[in-house]
Symmetry: C2
Subunit: 238 residues, 2 copies
Amino acid sequence: MDTHAPRSGGNGASRVHELLSHAPLFRGLAPEDLARIAAGTREVRAARGEAIFHRGDPCEGFHVVAVGRVKLALVNPAGDEKVVEIVGPGMSFGEALMFAGRPYIVDAIALADSLLLHVNKATLFAEIDREPALARRMLASLSVRTHMLMKDLEAVSLHSATQRVIGYLARLDEETGSHRVTLPAQKALVASRLNLTPEYFSRILHDMAARGLVRIDARDIEILDPEGLRALGAASDA
Amino acid sequence: MDTHAPRSGGNGASRVHELLSHAPLFRGLAPEDLARIAAGTREVRAARGEAIFHRGDPCEGFHVVAVGRVKLALVNPAGDEKVVEIVGPGMSFGEALMFAGRPYIVDAIALADSLLLHVNKATLFAEIDREPALARRMLASLSVRTHMLMKDLEAVSLHSATQRVIGYLARLDEETGSHRVTLPAQKALVASRLNLTPEYFSRILHDMAARGLVRIDARDIEILDPEGLRALGAASDA
DNA sequence: GCCGCGGCTTGACGCAGGACAATTCCCATT
DNA sequence: AATGGGAATTGTCCTGCGTCAAGCCGCGGC
C-alpha cells in the first residue's frame, strides 16, 4: 500500500504526520504546527466489529479515520441501536464530546479493519491557543456537524420515511456526480441511519424500483428518474 | 429596570456592554475584550410574534437573548413546523450557522416582546484570533449544543412519546430542584419540541395524572412520584 | 352580562411504519 | 455439489401516534 517507504527510522511518527496532513481538518496547516499535533497523536487499530469506545467512556481526545470505516451509534440499555453516522477516511469524530468535556454518548464500532488516529485533548488545546487558524477550523468543523444534525432532526421530525430515503439518495448522488450511487454500508445500517427498519427500507426501495424510478443492484442504486423521485417525495403536502 | 443609570451619554454602547457581560458565553472576559465585541454588537428588538430571521436568510452573526423568549423552529414549505428549542435570557443562538457560513435553516420567532443582541461575525472572528480563551468558550458552547442535539435525536429515534415526556419533565425538574416544574411555553409549543401533536401530549400528561404520578395545573406540573415515572418509562424494554 | 377567541381536552377513527416469522439469495467454505 | 450463515426480501398482522372534529374553559372587550 505504501509506494514509497518512509526513509528514517521514526516511521511511526512520520506516518502519523503524513496521515494527519490528509485530514481536511488539518490540511494546509504549517508543518511545525502539524508536528506538534502529531506528537500528541497515537495510532489506534480496530478490527472489523471491534469497539473503539462505548457510551459512557471518558473522552480524552478525538479520532480521525485514516483507513477503514466506523459507525457511530446510539445504544439503549435494552440493546436497540440507532446509527448516527458512518464515518470514512479523512473524517473525524468525537470532537464535540471532547470540547464539551463529557463522556461519550455513542458507541463507535469499526465496520472494517481500520486505522485511526487519536489526537490528545491537551495537545490540541495547546495548539488552539497558539494558532487561531486552527481554532477557526475546529469551529467551522463543529458547526458543520451541528448543521448536519439539524438536518437529521428535520428529516426525522418533518419528513416521511419515503422522503428520507429520497433525500438520502439525493445527497449521495450529488456527492458522486453521475446518477449511480453506492450505499456506504449494508442496508440494515443505512436503514438505521435513516430511522427505519431494514424491512421497511427494503419495501420503499423496491416500491421505487417498481415505479421505474431507480434500478437496484445490491448496494448499487441507479437513479433513473430524478424528477420522478422528487415528485414522489412531494406527494404528501397539502 | 436600571438601578444605576450609565453616567456618560453613550448609554447605548454601555448597555450593550453590560448586557453582554451577563451572557454565560462572555462572562469573565476581560473588559477591554468585551468592549471590542460590544462595538460590533447592535440591539435588536422584536415584538411578540415577530420574526427575527427566517430559514434561508444569510447569517451575518449570532444572537444573544437579553430579555424575552425566542423559539427556533424548523419549517416546511408546507407550513408544518417543529420547534427545535425555546431560548431564554442569557442564551445565544445562531453561532453554528455563522461559523459554518451557511444560511439559516430555522426560523426564529419572538414568543414575547424581546430584546436581543446581534454580535457581528467579523468582530467575533477578530476577537477569536486575538483571544484564544474566547475560542475555547465558543468551542465548548458549540459542543454542548451538539450534545443536546444528539440527545434530541436519541429521544426521537429511540424513545417512545411517553418516555420523551418523562425525560423532558425530569430535565426541567433537575434544573429547578423541588419537584415543581413549569413549562416554558404553551403546551402546543412544548409538544412540538418533543415531536408530538398537542393532542397526544395532552393525553400522555393526563394519563400520568390519572395514575397519580403528577398533578397538573395549567403550565405548572408537580411531580408526585418520580420513581413511578421512571418505572412508567421503563415499561417498554424486553 | 354576553360574546368571541385562543388554548386545551376528549372522542372516534385511520394509517404509516414497526414486529415477527418465513423464505430466498448470495457467497464463502469444504 | 453440498452446506451453512448472514443479508435481504416478502407476507401478515398489529399498534402508537396522527388526524379530524367537537366540546370546554377562562379571560378580555364591549
